[in-house]
């Protein structure tokens, strides 16, 4: 079901300006394993191959910035313009789910860049639709929204701890606790769009240690993919979904960028 892509030579190629506008966005907590009572900084990062630039807290971009633990949902607080963009206090032991849903941002792309970006992100249906409409040579106007999550563990891990559905437009949900599996084991994920499984979407997983060695898979009819995550360290799992922009959006396309980060410890 999954296949390993070969190493894409070196990260220098990944930094090619040709991939200029197809940037991932993820949450990079100051620690994935806080003590109970510890304050965790929640850094937002935008970039490629887990090489990211800081995104300071921008209230005009935040639609939802929250965390959920066993006691419920709370807002992620922070100072406007600051990096880390938010902070949370881990009050009780357990799995904490952090979510950031942005408001849409607008971008205009040249036809070459947009076509390349569709290819990179596996958005074949959109590319086919553009081809049918004879728009492959046309500039593209897009509004994109970020749907980023991270999983943080305080205290001991258990199978009973689960990722939570936050209700994001596009959402990746880990169907097992990544902190409760040994490395080199399969981890199932489910991708939902508007709370319904999204089939046929390209999902990519990459580790911070070797981000160019990407794992990729298409979601099945239930929106599920499974990855075998051998590498210890931080992981980013991501997916992009694009639809024709709704009327009044002042763009032809609307995209949603889901991401999920967590850290795997060395295999026992």
């Amino acid at each position: 079901m999954f296949r390993r892509l070969g190493k894409l030579v070196v990260a220098a190629i990944a930094l090619s300006p040709a991939q200029l506008f197809a940037h991932d966005m993820w949450i990079d907590p100051t620690t994935f394993f806080p003590e109970s009572g510890q304050i965790v900084g929640l850094r937002l990062r935008v970039g490629q191959d887990l090489l990211g630039d800081p995104l300071p807290r921008d209230p005009s971009l935040i639609s939802l910035f929250i965390f959920e633990d066993a006691t419920g949902r709370k807002p992620v607080v922070g100072r406007d313009g600051a990096d880390p963009a938010g902070f949370m206090r881990v009050a009780t032991p357990g799995l904490v789910v952090v979510g950031y849903h942005s408001n849409p941002s607008a971008v205009e792309l040249t036809p070459e860049k947009f076509n390349q970006y569709l290819k990179e992100e596996g958005l074949d249906a959109v590319a086919a639709l553009r081809a049918r409409r004879n728009e492959m040579g046309a500039k593209a106007h897009e509004v994109f929204s970020r749907c980023a999550k991270t999983l943080v563990l305080s205290g001991p891990a258990s199978d009973g701890q689960r990722d939570r559905i936050l209700g994001f437009t596009l959402e990746l949900v880990a169907e097992r606790n990544p902190y409760a599996i040994a490395t080199d084991r399969e981890l199932p994920f489910r991708l939902t769009y508007e709370n319904r499984p999204l089939p046929g979407a390209l999902v990519v997983a990459m580790s911070r240690v070797n981000p160019s060695a990407k794992l990729t898979a298409r979601t099945d009819s239930d929106g599920r993919v499974r990855f075998r995550l051998k590498q210890a360290g931080m992981w980013l799992v991501k997916a992009v979904h694009m639809i024709p922009a709704p009327p009044g959006a002042n763009a032809e396309w609307a995209s949603y960028w889901a991401s999920l980060t967590f850290e795997l410890k060395d295999a026992p």
């Binding site: 990260a11 940037h23 191959d49």
Partner: protein, 374 residues
């Protein structure tokens, strides 16, 4: 005007966080929200040299450089040694930026520095300074920077332009050409000319009572147009000379010396009006000399207001014209209210000139004492 490099750097570092909200507002006013990072680029274009400062997250920059170089992660992140580590990537760093004049790349001198973390949550800031000479005859400047994935602000300042230009760029995007000629659009020059004309006028009416009294003193001695014209012309030529010389920093006289002398000149003209009944040739020479003093006073006021570098001469000339317009307005008002109706009456000198001159003289003497530095 030379902007100290350290000051520029300070502005970047200190202003980065606090200025972010304002930058977002600016950005938000022209487009929908963008993902704005922490990178800022500031360019200073001088007559023959350029200085560029890139302020960016040190850790993020190092990670990208290390990945591009295929090197392992730095053991120095966040420490004082990260500065030297950063400098070792000079050749790679240069590959993803472009400083160009008229589309041709130049090879800047680059210095790297990393400021330490101020607390455990704030990331260390890297400041990269680029500098070099501007090719002779170059007409425009363009900038490309590909070491950031987020949007960033490029601010360009020039010796020839008062207002810095800010352009929002994505990483890898080339800026619009910045014209080195600094030629302001005609509308800007007209606006500047009107602004400084207005400032010159209001420096006389209503703000310059001392200058108003001096002009009234000139008017009162003789209501005849020829006499007034000679004195006003001498005064205008004189104050234009010292205003220009002062503004070009060719002369500099302390206001503590000039201001009491201006008051004395007003008192002198007023007292002379009491004892003279017609304009003598030496009176014109004296008014010329007093005009030199008043010009230095105008220069002091104009320096406080500030002159735009791009339209220095326009502003200087229009300020002077505004001053003239103010003086002529005073004379016209005095003529219409008093001179036209009563100037030929027998009692004009006795009932108007002498009492008014006495009032002016007492006021000016009071100012003289008030303005003395001791």
């Amino acid at each position: 005007m030379r902007v100290p490099r350290r000051g520029l750097s300070c502005c970047l570092v200190v202003g980065a966080a606090s200025g972010f909200a304002a930058l977002m507002l600016i950005c938000g006013s022209v487009a929908r929200a963008h993902e704005i990072g922490t990178t800022r680029v500031s360019v200073l274009l001088q007559a023959d040299r350029y200085q560029i400062e890139i302020a960016t997250d040190a850790t993020a920059l190092l990670e990208k450089l290390e990945a591009s170089a295929g090197r392992p992660p730095s053991p120095y992140k966040g420490s004082a040694r990260s500065e030297a580590w950063l400098a070792t990537f000079d050749e790679i760093f240069r590959r993803r930026l472009k400083v160009a004049f008229d589309g041709s790349d130049v090879h800047p001198r680059i210095e790297y520095s990393v400021s330490p973390q101020t607390d455990t949550t704030s990331p260390p800031l890297a400041t990269v300074r680029l500098s070099g000479g501007i090719p002779r005859g170059a007409r425009d400047f363009t900038w490309t920077y590909s070491w950031t994935f987020a949007s960033y602000a490029l601010t360009v300042r020039s010796d020839r332009s008062e207002t810095p230009l800010t352009e929002w760029l994505e990483g890898g995007q080339t800026s619009k050409p910045f014209l080195l000629s600094g030629a302001a659009p005609p509308i800007d020059r007209i606006v500047a000319a009107w602004r400084y004309f207005t400032l010159g006028f209001t420096h006389i009416v209503p703000n310059g009572l001392d200058h108003v009294l001096f002009v009234l003193g000139i008017f009162l001695l003789s209501g005849r147009a020829r006499a007034v014209l000679w004195q006003v012309s001498a005064f205008t030529v004189a104050h234009s000379i010292t205003l220009g010389l002062s503004m070009y920093n060719l002369i500099a006289v302390s206001p503590s010396f000039v201001e009491p002398l201006i008051a004395i000149s007003i008192a002198y003209v007023a007292i002379e009006n009491i004892f003279l009944s017609e304009v003598r040739s030496w009176r014109v020479v004296l008014v010329f000399a007093f005009g030199l003093l008043h010009g230095m006073g105008f220069a002091g006021a104009l320096k406080e207001l500030g002159l735009p570098r791009s339209d220095f001469l326009t502003a200087l000339l229009t300020f002077n014209v505004g001053v003239e317009a103010g003086q002529l307005t005073v004379i016209a008002a005095a003529f219409l209210l008093v001179g036209m109706r009563y100037g030929t009456r027998d009692w004009y000198r006795r009932r108007i000139v002498v009492p008014a001159s006495l009032l002016i003289a007492f006021t000016a003497l009071y100012w003289t004492v008030q303005r003395l530095p001791f």
